[in-house]
Amino acid sequence: MNRTANSSARPLLRSFPTEYLGLTLALSALVGVFSLITDHFFSVTTFRTIANQIPSAVLVATAMTYLLVIAEIDLSVGSVLGFCSAVLGVAMTQWHWPLPLAVIGTIAAGLLCGAFNGLVSVHWRLPSFIVTLGMLEMARGAAHAVTRSQTQYIGSSVEAIAGTSICGLSLPFLLAMVIVVAAQLVLTRTVFGRYLVAIGTNAEAVRLSGIDPRPIKLAVFLLTGLLVALAAIIDTSRFQSANPNAGTGFELQAIAAAVIGGTSLMGGRGSVVPTLFGVLITAVLNTGLAAVGARDETKRLITGLVIIAAVILDQYRHRLGAKWKNS
């Protein structure tokens, strides 16, 4: 009678085949197609370039995955990234803070935004969709106010962060990978992680089990603020400049990456490593289309189709997974 006799232990490894196979296939297919079409796509340089471009997207998508797991959302990540970037830029160029202090200030700015989102939506029990929609406007306004709408050129003094590389992989990339693995482990193997899944599935039941979901939700919003601030620092260091428009449209990208990775928008289901695949798929797609030099409208059409195709694939993977389990 026990149809699902799998132990819940070690879900990271246990579920590898069904969980990651589809995504790996999709990714390989993309790489394959682009390698065939263009001459210079399939090269170490390309992959190194991609690896160095994605860290900020990975961090933001990781935060988004956590939020989606607890059935919340943050539309303000892009704006907050812009704001944090602005703070870092202004701190370095105008206030002449030393780098470590400026970094701390930037993280504080991120945490502040996260705290606002969290406190308002948790305290007034408002949907985070709308609270963070408000924050989307406010943080962008703040970014422009802080920089007076001018890009802050910082120069090589921030280069240390993104410029350091180990075996050709940048520090931010390695950091992002460490954070992804840690986030995945925390989600699947710690008490905190299990609370997140529980809250996303049935917050009322969690409350009735005597656990207050509010501080936990707040913690996730704070974590989002932190990760977004880190992403801002990475990008600012990479570009050696702070642009108040940085991160525009990041929110939808991050959500798309998480959903491509199989995270549910309804809460309670999601994990971080597949989200990384989601980010990789988008990045490979972007790079590949740029290598082909496709027209803008073609790029958009293909991007849209790939997003939809990815989630349809995910559906079939789930059904297939269910079948395998049952037989």
Binding site: S8, V197, N202, G268
Partner: protein
Amino acid sequence: MNSGTPLLAIDRLCKAYAGPVLDGIAFDLLAGEVHALVGENGAGKSTLSKIVAGLVQPDEGTMTLRGQPYAPHNKNGAERQGVRMVMQELNLIGNLTVAESVLLGNLPHRWGWIDWRELRDRARGIFERVGLTDIDPGCFVKSLGVGRQQLVEIAAVLARPCDVLILDEPTAALTAPEIERLFVEIAKLKAAGTAILYISHRMEEIQRISDRISVLRDGRLIATRPAAELSLDEIVRMMVGRELGEAIHRESVTAGPVALRVEGLRRGDAVRDVSFETRRGEILGFAGLMGSGRTETMRALFGADRADGGEIFLCDEEKPVRIRSPRDAVRRGIALLTENRKEEGLLLPLPIRANITFLCLGQLSRAGGWIRAATELAEATRWGNALSVRCHSYEQRVDELSGGNQQKVMIAKWLFRNCDVLIFDEPTRGIDVGAKFEIYQLLADLAAQGKAVIVVSSDLKELMALCDRIAVMSAGRVAATFRRGEWTQDKIMTAALSGYLNQ
């Protein structure tokens, strides 16, 4: 046994929502007693227990626990002082494993990292106490049926020590063997000095295990008496405030033509090969152990889940009908009252009116689909009153109703639709005695009108009182079918177990 100062004393407790729900309740709980709380649906039993468990704050009144003032602000507060409760409605977390869900409040961990082995062992230990040896702690909660979910929830509460234990209709979805296990457990706790507040609508249980009985009616405490002094009739009279026609009045059975014939229905492991037929004017019961596949059979038959195989014939027709969705089923005159009213039956935030009329809106509207509001309300009122749904107004949200009244709303909705084959999955789950008899009478009347009625129930007594035939399911098959007069409780139980013995 009933000596010493009360463990918990309640005094002049009042609570009002839209109207008064509890009115000057005063009673006490002694250590080592089982105190039964009975009353009609909506009498205020759950509200009272929620107040004791800290989930709801009273408007007035005081409570004392072990002589100290007791006013818990939330569930945690109550639990810290040794008061625990099994809620009437299920509150499990589908996406967690059973073990995680059961131990959610205190997952075993080292520096925040879950200790899986410890978790599994503890969960096993907990389940063994209530005899749930065949549940794998690693499977997901959402893969369990309602009955098992309820057991899991009970197990979770029993696992932790407490002084006051409230059980709010723990047996509503359980079958006899599980109930027996639960009673053993209750006896153990009682011996250890725990005070138990037991709520149920099954009178035989009340009489079996309770030491004292308190009767609630319309939010007032009618009486608290030792159980031995009260007969069943007396309890019911106090509850309902009037005499109850005990026997169900049934026309002499003249089974009509076949209304529905099912052959070789299969779906996954739960439904392996089910064949049966039911005739107009007949009430066919489905008995079986928990997880024997009764619910899944009915869902597959109704098109709620896609069947893997099998044929369904209606009204002596030669050709099988294709039922691929509930829409097909309803159009062919089959109705299914689902066992999980909260998730699968009701539109909780909508008014009672909208819930009752939902299936027949076409009938209540003018051309273009404009609903005739006055007619709608009149019809909703008619059907609500026919089932004596207790509410302030038919504009009240369904989620404000007591569990039993929600069930009545569901029944009203399907009766209004007037189908030929009516399948009731646990129709009396959480319904009070008075209303239960009303519903039995209703089912009998439906049969008398020439409808085919199928009743799935975990309460064997109920089936034996009501049905013309009883099909007993075991491990996804119909193990035996008995006619009225042929059956005995033992025969049915043997049949119910048969499928598992030779596995």
